[in-house]
Amino acid sequence: MLAHRIIPCLDCDLEKPGGRIVKGIKFKKIRYTGLPWELAERYYKEGADEIVFLDITASAERRTTMVEVVKKTCQKVFIPITVGGGIRSVEDAQRLFRAGADKISINTAAIQNPRLVKKLSKTFGSQAVVVAIDAKNRDNWFECSIYGGKKFTGVDAILWAKKVAELGAGEILLTSMDRDGTKEGFDLELTKRISKSVSIPVIASGGAGKKEHFLEAFQKGKADAALAASLFHFGEIKISELKRYLKEKGINVR
């Protein structure tokens, strides 16, 4: 049986030496932790199923590139690696795939140019194209935002999820802006609604604070995978412990 996946997310600030990991609360950055490839290797050894790197560099000045981060990571980490942030073309994606990435994740560029989703999936295959949706609860609907949560688009997240699946996206990385960094748990309603609307896998993100939240994301939210950042970075939950817990609860994990 296909296992439910646990995915640590590493937000990289490439303006800092080595592209240090940043952890934000409600889409505003605050603290720095380790180097991306060192943290990725630690998670690989602890049983992470995949690694996601997000380039969240605000400044135009960069001391390192995502290509370098991926190259360094791939020498020692033998699980899939997804890269998101700032990818706007087939060429940008190509550079990351050549460096060793397995998937790329796009949000802003997809909303501004939906044809890019089609182009990327035709070129690299659906399985390599993740569309990230950052959604905010607007009472009876969910609105997509772009530019790392800085701009709202008026686009309905559920309709958009269906659209990107049609365009050839292989997965949806769904972040609840309301829950991100709060540790109050994943937005189960949002996750379930998106998961039921599309026939591609959905990764739930934003709000993980304890082990039970992951269980809920799979059982109630119908997520295929769950992603978290700070929880793992600061050692509050170990991935190996989390998986043991999920297994006890009858969830199929690796």
């Binding site: 049986m1 020498q75 460096a99 060793g100 690299f124 295959g125 292989g170």
Partner: protein
């Protein structure tokens, strides 16, 4: 020395990294005569079946692969590189595959497509590349299609995803895996090590 066939379909870096990690030298090439003369061949690939055959023909690698296989060179097809060994695929119905094996490549059904993630190996019979592995081991899949070999005796593992499909084969010097050993952690590295030690 492992020769990795480059025909412009997907990520070769990870496969190279995995062998390097195991302490094995690799060479990436698109040269037909180098392919024919290699000691061990890895045929990777992600992307479209039709486009892959087109690229192989353009580079005249299709014949080199067939000759290498006939010579008995140990050969490992991964993902699309596994599917291409069959006669045809639902992904590109008009295109003829390498036809090393009889059978066609079908689209997954009855589940979310593509299958992305870790799934389990149900071992069907002993194989050199499965040495030291337990049934139920998890490996990483990223695919929408899977091969259906006509000769069921070559199937070494099956995996369940809506249906039980053939996730790997062994036939003489030829091995094929639908999953990505280079992305399957320790289990995947063990499979690659087994291939190196053949």
């Amino acid at each position: 020395m492992i020769t990795i066939i480059d025909y412009g379909m997907g990520n070769l870096k990870s496969i190279e990294n995995a062998f390097r990690y195991l302490g094995v030298e690799t060479k990436i090439t698109d040269n037909p005569s180098e392919i024919e003369k290699s000691k061990k061949l890895v045929f990777p690939g992600v992307g479209n079946f039709g486009k892959a055959i087109e690229n192989l023909k353009k580079k005249k690698i299709d014949l080199a692969i067939k000759k290498a296989i006939e010579k008995g060179i140990p050969f490992l097809g991964i993902c699309l590189g596994f599917q291409l060994l069959f006669e045809k695929s639902e992904e590109a119905p008009k295109i003829k595959g390498l036809s090393i094996f009889q059978g066609k490549v079908s689209r997954l059904k009855k589940a979310k497509i593509p299958q992305i993630g870790w799934n389990q190996l149900k071992i069907q019979k002993k194989s050199k590349i499965l040495k030291g592995l337990k049934g139920g081991s998890f490996v990483y899949f990223m695919h929408s299609f899977y091969p259906k070999p006509l000769d069921k005796k070559i199937i070494i593992t099956k995996t369940n995803y809506g249906i039980d499909f053939c996730s790997s084969i062994e036939s003489k010097n030829i091995f094929g895996v639908q999953f990505h050993p280079e992305k399957s952690g320790k289990v995947g590295l063990k499979i690659l090590k087994n291939f190196v030690e053949i």
